[in-house]
């Protein structure tokens, strides 16, 4: 490609990236302003007197730490369960020989199409009857159930591309089925597993509607609630509201920055075969 074309492309992408990120830049910028500065006519405003108090409000009254730990716990357990269940299901569907496997595979895949919102109402009734509302389990179970179908789908696609020779030599060496799956196959599916981990993380970490339906106890609430609680309490203090939004976005962005390469690799592996 000619150098001039390359420069034009560069400039073009730079402008588009700025436009796309503008809402977030604006959010960060205004989170340092006091509320009366919001009504000035300038689109972006250099915070000459940055309002750190906004972030203190966000941390304290947004109950950031408490909700963050809840989110971290629920998400971690969900990811672990999802990975194990998707791997074992995926393996059983692609390699094992049993009678109803195609029927069960279809049923599990239906889970990708069925909207969770449609199961929200009856699940609320069931969880209430079982005493699962207002418990960590009341979030972990539905989150895992929602994540497993997609995880199984990704893993079956990936497992098909792994030659059976791997297992054959393992069997010759005397390895049993569990060692084959967890010690030989699991590491080989690492790229697909990372995709499952990352998509599950993004879905659970940011999930709001199930959490708001199943939880009412403050001690159990997850990170998105910081923003929701705040909206009422600081209804006219926009600066603090913006600060809590910035603060709750930071963990996900950090995780993304770390796993960015794996996300692309995982999606590449999934998209080409899927």
């Amino acid at each position: 490609m000619k150098k001039s074309t390359k420069i034009i492309l560069w400039v073009f992408f730079l402008i588009v990236a700025l436009v796309q990120l503008f809402p977030l830049i604006w959010l960060v910028d205004f989170s340092f302003l006091s509320s009366n500065e919001f009504y000035s006519s300038s689109i972006l405003k250099w915070p000459s007197d940055p309002q750190w108090q906004n972030y203190i409000n966000a941390w304290v009254d947004g109950k950031f730490l408490r909700y963050f730990l809840n989110s971290a716990f629920v998400t971690t357990v969900t990811i672990l369960l999802t990975v194990v269940l998707s791997l074992t299901l995926g393996y059983a569907f692609t390699r094992m020989q049993w009678r109803f496997r195609s029927i069960f595979f279809t049923i599990i895949l239906l889970g990708i199409m069925i909207p969770i919102h449609a199961t929200l109402l009856p699940n609320f009734a069931i969880f209430k009857a079982l005493g699962l509302t207002n418990s960590y389990l009341g979030l972990i179970l539905p989150y895992t159930a929602v994540s497993v179908p997609m995880g199984t789908f990704i893993l079956t696609g990936f497992l098909k591309s792994i030659p059976k020779a791997m297992e054959e030599s393992a069997v010759v060496d005397g390895a049993g089925i569990y060692r084959i799956v967890f010690q030989i196959i699991a590491p080989l599916t690492a790229p697909a597993l990372v995709t499952v981990v990352v998509t599950t993380f993004l879905n659970c970490w940011n999930e709001f509607i199930m959490a708001s339906t199943f939880l009412s106890k403050d001690a159990l609430k997850t990170l998105p609630f910081s923003v929701m609680n705040f909206a009422g309490q600081y209804s006219s203090d926009y600066g603090s509201q913006f600060a809590v939004m910035v603060l709750t976005s930071i963990p996900a962005i950090i995780i993304y920055a770390i796993f960015n390469e794996q996300i692309t690799k995982g999606v590449t592996a999934g998209a080409v075969k899927g």
């Binding site: 490609m1 390359k6 560069w10 073009f12 992408f13 588009v16 990236a17 796309q20 990120l21 503008f22 977030l24 604006w26 919001f38 006519s41 689109i43 972006l44 269940l85 299901l89 059983a92 094992m96 020989q97 049993w98 049923i107 599990i108 889970g111 199409m113 069925i114 909207p115 919102h117 449609a118 199961t119 929200l120 109402l121 009856p122 009734a125 069931i126 895992t144 159930a145 179908p149 069997v171 089925i177 569990y178 084959i180 970490w205 940011n206 709001f208 509607i209 998105p224 923003v227 929701m228 926009y238 939004m245 709750t248 976005s249 962005i253 993304y256 920055a257 692309t264 999606v267 998209a271």
Partner: protein, 296 residues
């Protein structure tokens, strides 16, 4: 070898927990929903009487909101397919040509909105579009387009388009990433052969890239339609279906019927129809798009 793959205990241990969880959180609730939908339940656990298919006939023949919600979902889906996806394909191709470190950097940047919580996205856009302090109207002022200033989400004529715009912004990174991944799977020889035949630039992409991307496009179009049908959180947290049902969606409608209007039975009837619509849409779009998908 066969013995290992036929291990019944292992199959049971591998399959049972997943199927059980799935049954408990999907199948049992759907059956329960079916039960509630045939009754005039006010809230779960309250006494109710069997009303047969009254809820369904009411929904299908006398409830214009239901059809409006469906229409909105279809419009949103078409918006995704005809606006978001062509843009994503275009950007994926451009990004692929950029190459080097810049390619990686821009790809990273474009995905950032996808990792941010829907709660933050919704509240942020409400503020951005706020008629008094929102940046969007200020921007219009600065550009001398003050006459276009508007309560974008507050006016029923612009609310749905605005919603589409927000959702395109929020979901653009995913689309881009999928098409980009698809592009990386196209072997370079394809391009070399095509450029030997004299194709170049735009023509090259239209004739070579887009057809070779068609498996990815097929999957993405199906997903776009399902995403549109399932739309809930962003609408719920911004307009809650309003103003005047202009952004009404099935999931928002059933949620409000169940928890605000105390028509739990009726809401469950919406749930059941909602599931049927989603399965039907998936089936149809896979049937419609499969015929012209090519393998490579």
């Amino acid at each position: 070898m066969q013995k290992v793959f036929n291990n019944k205990t292992a199959i049971f241990l591998f399959v049972f927990p997943g199927i059980l969880l799935f049954a408990l959180t999907f199948l049992v609730p759907i059956f329960l929903s079916g039960y509630y939908s045939l009754r005039d339940t006010l809230a779960p656990g309250t006494p109710s009487t069997f009303t047969g298919f009254a809820n369904y006939t009411q929904l299908l023949f006398h409830d214009s909101r239901f059809w409006l919600a469906l229409r909105n979902a279809i419009l949103l889906g078409l918006g995704f397919i005809f606006i978001q996806h062509p843009i994503a394909i275009f950007f994926a191709i451009m990004l692929d040509r950029l190459g080097g470190k810049a390619e990686k950097w821009f790809r990273t940047i474009f995905f950032i909105p996808c990792v941010i919580s829907v709660v933050v996205i919704s509240k942020m856009w409400l503020s951005l579009l706020d008629p008094t302090f929102g940046a969007f109207n200020k921007l219009l002022d600065t550009l001398g387009l003050g006459m276009l200033k508007h309560a974008w989400l507050g006016d029923s004529s612009t609310a749905l388009v605005t919603m589409l715009f927000i959702l395109i912004w929020a979901g653009f990174g995913w689309g881009l990433l999928f098409y980009y991944a698809g592009l990386k799977g196209i072997p370079d020889e394809m391009y070399e052969a095509a450029s030997l035949d004299g194709a170049s630039g735009f023509k090259l992409h239209l004739r070579i890239t887009v057809p070779l991307l068609s498996p990815v496009i097929t999957v993405q179009i199906t997903l776009a339609m399902i995403t549109a049908l399932k739309q809930m959180e962003t609408v719920f947290l911004t307009t809650n279906g309003g103003p005047g049902d202009s952004t009404q969606f099935l999931a928002v409608y059933l949620y409000n019927k169940a928890f605000s209007a105390s028509q739990y039975g009726y809401a469950n009837a919406i749930s059941i129809l909602f599931i049927i619509v989603c399965l039907l849409a998936t089936y149809l779009s896979s049937k419609l798009t499969r015929s012209d998908a090519t393998e490579f």
